[in-house]
């Protein structure tokens, strides 16, 4: 089938083709730089491309694939040998593209309102406009926030997707064994749902393989995280954190190629630490960016922080790794381990889904372990519960003697608070706090 045919067939792959092209191009660029950092980035870009390939192929050839989430048990999708993707990936796909702002405006025209998370609005828009491939089954996310719950209700209702079987795992609010057991029960039900709608069958040994491999990946991540404690920090925003997250929880959950990548990352970073190298010539400020990266305009802001202020993102929300290893003894221990990891350890879900305590305790842990000079709560307009915790975060930072700033921005729409405005705010903050 050529592209035109595919478009006409309404497979919703246009954006995916565009992004695959872009990432292929990026690979070629990175291939020209022999440095280890670039080689690592090149490989993760290749991995990204291969994941696009997988979904595109399934959609084109009518093979089963599902929609899921990084925190709704990728271990299980992999064990069921089900190619999977996130519908929320589509907004992230557009993040570096010129059509992002148009798409956001189009979402507004749909009548979706403008004060809820842009990522969610965009997701719904992409579905409505046929720019997301339709899966055989959909695992909906109904936490950590109201927006996720609303999004998936609207996805289900959408006329195009009304025939897609949908299942959501119900989350417990508190963190205890009872919650884990309950969620493990939901996982079981999810497995039954997936088996019914995809024809796959969960093999416990295969699940064990995935979990063991995944555990290896997390062990490596813990090693890597230790290395980032070094002064100077070996990497900034461009390497590590979100990449590790992408490998271990999205693109290569439990897959050996992912483990190999993590191994290479650790080896390379050990060298950097030995040579006391980092992303800037002189590291002046070590900051904790407590959210996703501002994907819509990252190049207009984060590199500037490094160049202008010698400010290095030593840790971010998606790079923070308090993960425990899954006990692979039997199905029960595995499901509980998976439940625990997906509920309480997955980034953002961990902090946002329940009481606000992790906002405070994660900051405390990170500030101490990583010798953080200041904490930035970006204040994405979609994080209602997170911004509602700002008072708690501010106080914990005061107790720690660390400056705290709440910016207030949109990770996708740079018009909400422009990069220039952010630079002003941050500069004033750094200056006032005597940083850098």
């Amino acid at each position: 089938m050529d592209k035109k045919e595919i478009t006409q067939k309404g497979l919703g792959l246009e954006r995916y083709y565009q992004e695959r092209e872009w990432f292929n191009f990026l690979c070629q660029m990175l291939a020209q730089d022999p440095s280890e950092t670039s080689q690592l980035s090149k490989e993760i870009t290749e991995i990204t491309v291969s994941r696009y390939d997988e979904i595109i192929r399934c959609a084109e050839e009518g093979k089963p694939f599902i929609m899921g989430y990084f925190c709704a048990a990728p271990e299980i999708y992999e064990a069921l040998d089900l190619p999977w993707y996130m519908i929320m990936a589509t907004p992230f796909l557009a993040a570096s593209a010129p059509y992002l702002l148009e798409d956001i405006d189009a979402a507004e025209r749909m009548g979706l309102g403008t004060d809820w998370c842009t990522a969610c609005r965009l997701t719904l828009y992409y579905i409505e406009s046929g720019l997301t491939p339709k899966p055989n089954a959909l695992i909906a996310l109904i936490h950590p926030c109201d927006a996720a719950t609303m999004l998936h209700q609207a996805v289900y209702r959408n006329k195009r997707w009304r025939d897609v079987p949908i299942f959501a795992m119900d989350p417990p609010y508190f963190e205890d064994q009872r919650g884990i057991d309950y969620y493990a029960g939901e996982l079981k039900r999810m497995v039954a749902f997936l088996e019914e709608h995809t024809g796959r069958k969960l093999d416990i040994d295969r699940l064990r393989e995935i979990c063991l491999e995944s555990n290896k990946q997390y062990e490596l991540w813990l090693e890597y995280a230790q290395l980032r404690r070094a002064v100077p920090c070996p990497h900034g925003w461009a390497v590590g954190g979100p990449q590790c997250f992408a490998i271990t929880q999205v693109f290569q959950a439990g897959r050996p190629r992912g483990t190999a990548w993590m191994r290479k990352l650790v080896d390379h970073t050990e060298k950097m630490v030995k040579e006391k190298k980092g992303p800037v010539a002189k590291e002046r400020i070590r900051y904790f960016w407590f959210d996703l990266l501002p994907f819509g305009w990252v190049f207009e802001f984060l590199p500037w922080l490094e160049e202008e202020w010698g400010a290095v993102m030593v840790m971010d929300m998606f790079g923070y790794t308090p993960y425990t290893l899954i006990d692979t003894r039997n199905e029960d221990t595995m499901l509980k381990g998976i439940a625990k990891r997906n509920l309480y350890e997955s980034p953002m879900v961990r902090q946002a889904r329940g009481i606000a305590d992790y906002f405070a305790s994660d900051i405390t842990r990170v500030v101490k372990d990583y010798k953080i000079d200041c904490v930035i709560w970006p204040g994405h307009m979609g994080h209602k519960d997170g911004s509602a915790s700002t008072g708690i975060m501010r106080e914990v930072c005061r107790d720690l003697g660390v400056p705290y700033i709440h910016i207030g921005l949109d990770l996708f729409d740079k018009r909400y608070t422009t990069p220039e405005q952010c630079k002003d705010k941050i500069s004033q903050f750094f200056t006032a706090m005597g940083l850098g």
Binding site: G111, L112, G113, D115, W116, C117, A140, I142, H143, C145, D146, A147, T149, M150, L151, H152, Q153, A154, Y156, R157, A168, D170, P171, P172, Y173, F174, R178, G179, Y182, G185, E186, R189, G354, I355, A356, D357, G379, M381, K384, D385, S387, A388, S389, T390, G391, I392, R394, H406, G408
Partner: protein, 410 residues
Amino acid sequence: MESSERKLTGVTIKEAASKGENKAEAKVKREAKAKSKPLQEFQEATQTLANPALQDWKKQGGKVIGCYCSYVPEEVITAAGFVPFRMRGTGSTSTELADACLSSINCSFSRHSLDMGLRGEYSFLDGVVWVNSCDHVRRIYDHWKRKIVTPYLHFLSLPKKTTDVQVGWYRDEITTFKESLEKHFGTPITEERLWEAIRLHNETRRLQRQLYELRKRKSPPITGAETLAVMVAGSAMPREHYNQLLKKMLDELGRTDGHANYRARLMLIGGILDDPAYIEVIESQGGLVVTDSLCYGSRIMWKDVNEKASDAITALARYYIADRPHCPRMFDRQLDRSAFVMDMIRQFKVDGVISERLMFCDNWTGEAFMVGEDLKEKGIPYIRLDREYILTGIGQLRTRIQAFLETMER
């Protein structure tokens, strides 16, 4: 220009509306009738936090437990011998203290209510109970427990789905809640007391449904604003006292002439609207609100707890999770919710639907959109409104409603 400051009596709105009204404007004639005493008491209860009946209760040594959200199982509180009190931010004039805890992208209800808490205006409460209703209100708990000294705080984990599994989960949550109340206050909550409480609350629901039945008439004897006052009052005073008053009022209404001169029959859908003045502004343009789907409206009383079930706590869990008309936070029931709205439209012969939501409320952004799709499909006139918790922008609200009503004519 517009008479803007809303005083707590609500009288100022009426005055302003009538001053601005010229002879042709008033479409809903308010009969000069002797003001119903129960209605008066209900309306007064919406203008303060602790109304006189509640204050009397406290003076006699009675206890009051605050509840954030209608999903808190109030019957358990009643069974303990206490009065459940739905949390409102009535009378709040600022959010300064809360703004240091929450942020400018949090809804004004959460900011006003937390502010009142920080200012000590809820000191008449003996305890407060939450469920994880929404991203804003659940964070009130996080700040409250750190900053406000209250003898008893509790939080129930409310599911987001409504299958039997979740009924079972919530059953356990309610049990834990009951046990914690018993432990803290030293009051035993027996099965028998739970059933008594269930019957008492069901009685309230039956009476409230009777009230709504009257609004099905061509000339409803009560406005939407008055109805909201009745419903809000039900959440703020000792239940037996309320039920008595409501019975009396229903008697009186049976003998009252109805409102006949209205332009359209309206349905209001939305969240925690607790301010009758908001509906007064809507009705000042000549539309009559005859029914609703609101947190202080039909959703909390359209169904009863099953009195024939074998155990009380399971009956409660099933009522709150599965049976009762649902709130948008429940993931698997959107089609039922739309169907409920359609059914109300049919039963009450509704001409147009108004949805309201607080700014920054994700739950109602979604629902207003989704229900709107269904209304559009059926060709039912519909307008979406945003508001702040404390009534402002009366002129702007009026304009929109007036224009909406105008589009419905012809």
